[in-house]
Symmetry: C2
Subunit: 463 residues, 2 copies
């Protein structure tokens, strides 16, 4: 049983700040905000508040700061590293009702949004403009959450991560101050880049209440391709060569045989059960695409590809990527008695074959069930390892395997997290990954949030 962080007086004071239907201490509501989609332990907040205006966020955060109460932002709870779990209780600010698309400036390739906008909803609204917001984490993530975690996805290999699409932020700081940062031009050399300091800071430096995001033109033509390989090692070799050749894929995903088996089981797509690359290429004309595709075929065949299927139609392509996006959930469904730990390391591309081979070897040696599916074009590797829920010996083994593989990625000059953020589970690697600069990050944290009220217990090992 956790000790509440809020007193009855705090509850009363906070309740007065918003409409009654946007404030809750109800058990089921607290439960729904006690965990994200990760394996991390649930922890209920004391209260959930749904702000609808920056002024409300300012008042709530200022109160929390005065009374030293934890405040954690909440998007859709789809994160994978415990990022919004309120590990010290306190206040959850749920942005699901602060979700207006404030403006779409088509002619400037940008949009102003509130943090609770679901990115797929924005893209649906944009469809007739020929523009889109590229980052694509898969789950129904909010743009606020994507900014907090600097989310990536299948398209990052071509388009970059969320951070690359944020032009301006309006942020509520720990003292309740509202601050604008950035400008509406991508090209600027004007003083310090606060936007990219706050993007990816997981709500530990401030709370985003408005964002101007950059949009790009939808490609006219696309082509999806599947290539089968005899081993993950040969497939990962092809990945390296595809990137080196500069073919600029819009997605380059590696799925091991275990993943393909799961997809076939759930989706009836009849895929060959072997390590597989899902690729997407985009271009202005079909002619240009077919040239690119022939180059990709040559590279895959040289790397030992056993089958190369191209020219998939839009429907088949959508089914494939839908299956890819649902893989995490499929793993969960396939192991009803298991819990899943998701790894998210990324390594320099030349070391990618080595990292993959090492992961497969360690996984086999451990005897654990594991699924390797990677945003391979970025060197970003997800491994979903399954442990039985109440088998603590096995969980120790899962922990050890995770430690070993993250350490391997760091030894290869990689990163502990390519796109899920540090949250709870990667804190222990921050010292190794960042060395002396971690202390300076902590000082920046203390500068902006001297009382440590914003999403405490995240990013820093000892926080």
């Amino acid at each position: 049983m956790n000790v509440p962080a809020l007193s009855p007086e705090d509850i009363t004071a906070l309740a007065a700040m918003v409409d009654a239907d946007r404030f809750s201490t109800g058990g089921s509501v607290l439960d729904l905000h006690a965990r994200d989609q990760s394996h991390h332990h649930a922890r209920k907040p004391d209260v959930v508040i749904w702000p609808t205006a920056a002024s409300e966020v300012m008042a709530i955060v200022a109160y929390a700061n005065d009374h030293r109460l934890p405040v954690t932002g909440w998007g859709s709870g789809s994160s994978l590293e415990g990022n919004p779990i309120p590990v010290r209780g306190g206040i959850i600010l749920d942005f699901s009702r602060m979700n207006r698309i404030l403006s779409i400036q088509e002619e400037n390739f940008q949009a102003d949004v509130e943090p609770g906008v679901i990115y797929q909803d924005l893209n649906a609204r944009l469809r007739h403009t020929g523009l889109f917001f590229p980052p694509d984490p898969g789950a129904r993530a909010t743009i606020g959450g994507m900014i907090a975690n600097n989310a990536g996805g299948t398209t990052t290999v071509r388009y970059g991560s969320t951070k690359d699409y944020v032009l301006k932020l309006t942020v509520v700081l720990a003292n309740g101050e509202l601050v604008d940062m950035g400008c509406r031009v991508k090209k600027s050399s004007s003083a310090y880049d606060l936007v990219r300091l706050f993007a990816g800071s997981e709500g530990t430096l401030g709370i985003v209440v408005k964002a101007t995001i950059r949009l790009v033109g939808l490609p006219a033509e696309f082509s999806a391709t599947i290539a089968n390989f005899p081993s993950v090692e040969t497939a990962s070799r092809a990945v390296f060569e595809l990137i080196r050749a500069g073919l600029d894929p819009a997605a380059l995903e590696l799925l091991d045989a275990e993943c393909i088996q799961l997809i076939n089981q759930e989706k009836d797509l009849g895929l060959n059960v072997s390590p597989t690359l899902f690729m997407e290429f985009q271009g202005p004309t079909l002619n240009q695409l077919s040239e690119t595709m022939e180059m990709a075929r040559d590279i895959c065949e040289d790397a030992g590809c056993s089958e190369f299927r191209t020219g998939l139609g839009r429907a088949e392509r959508n089914r494939l990527f839908e299956a890819r996006h649902e893989l995490g959930e499929m793993v969960v469904r396939n192991h009803p008695d298991g819990r899943i730990r998701v790894m998210d390391m990324a390594v320099p591309i030349a070391t990618y074959p080595e990292m993959i081979a090492d992961a497969r070897r360690e996984l086999t040696a451990s005897g654990l069930s594991g699924y390797i599916f990677s945003h391979a074009g970025d060197g970003n590797i997800h491994i979903n390892v399954v442990g039985e829920k109440d088998n603590s010996a096995q969980w120790t083994q899962v922990d050890q395997l995770t430690d070993k593989l993250v350490q391997k990625a760091l030894d290869l000059d990689g990163t502990a997290t390519g796109e899920h953020g540090v949250g709870i589970g990667k804190r222990q690697f921050m010292e190794t990954e960042h060395g002396g600069s971690l202390a300076w990050m902590k000082r920046i944290k203390t500068l902006f949030d001297p009382n440590g009220i914003l999403n405490p217990g995240k990013i820093f090992p000892s926080s």
Copy 2:
């Protein structure tokens, strides 16, 4: 006459830290480090030191911090906003002898360099690898200087600014501490992005002693194009439409008739004297390029283009871009009794025609000589305005015009500087551009450099 910032004891102590031939208090050496290529007033340092190792920089900066001495980094002195002018005197660290290319990791698309490496020299070394470092400011800039100013150039419209190519930095902080930041993977969501905080901070937060930069593949084919227009307004309309159509030019430069006249005068290129777009497109095959070119022609003709010349060969293309890069110097040569003020604002692309029209109108109304040449595809506008050296009334007028046009860019939600940095000349606009976030930038500055020894007098209005 300036009061020296250093005592004789300081000079003796610092001289003992490096070889004698890498330490100078000689008048001509100090003169050479008293100004960059801008119009800003020269100010001599007290001493120039050429470090060759991080350990030397650490020792010098630690001493400077203990004794409250200004320290300013120096690349090649080609900046345009007084960024490295030692306005409080003190120590200049000239990195021209710390200029080794430490490693080229072709297979990881990256290189480790010391800050004094000239970017063209790196690109020359890379030529056989098929890779290159895209940012292209024109002058023989050092990579350290480019990182400090987040330099852009003609290729930024396609490739982004210097900041987008920095993976890791090794930095000496004001206290003499050596800190590594970043990792060798582009895709990372691991804690705070210190790399992008330090890149673009103009040496006010720390001094870069090593950088890992990202490289990309050289395009197989390119095509340069010239389009002439009856007015800068019609040309800028074409710019907007070219960007909107997503043709992804590798350069999209607008030069007004005055610039073309200068180029013809100096280079004998026989260009039509009218507002002109220089464009470059790149692609994997000539077929793809000719498709793109036809689309560009249609757009330019719809916008009122009077002549569209395409298919320029490599030699002619190189001559054109050489002329473009030398324009700043041509303006200087053409006005031997004048001084030049360079503007560098950037605006959202939809407002670009308005900004250009306004600039031309104000320039005409002022009666001053001025040249508009823009990285138009980014909404980045350079205007070189000429004033007579000793005509203070005219300089007041130049100042007023600059203020007005920068203010116009800020009114359009733009930025005071697209690529030259804040340096000395843009400090006065920081309050307007950044509002409340400027105070937080200043707090970050104070956190990293509590004694204000690093490049004092830059970025902040009151520093």
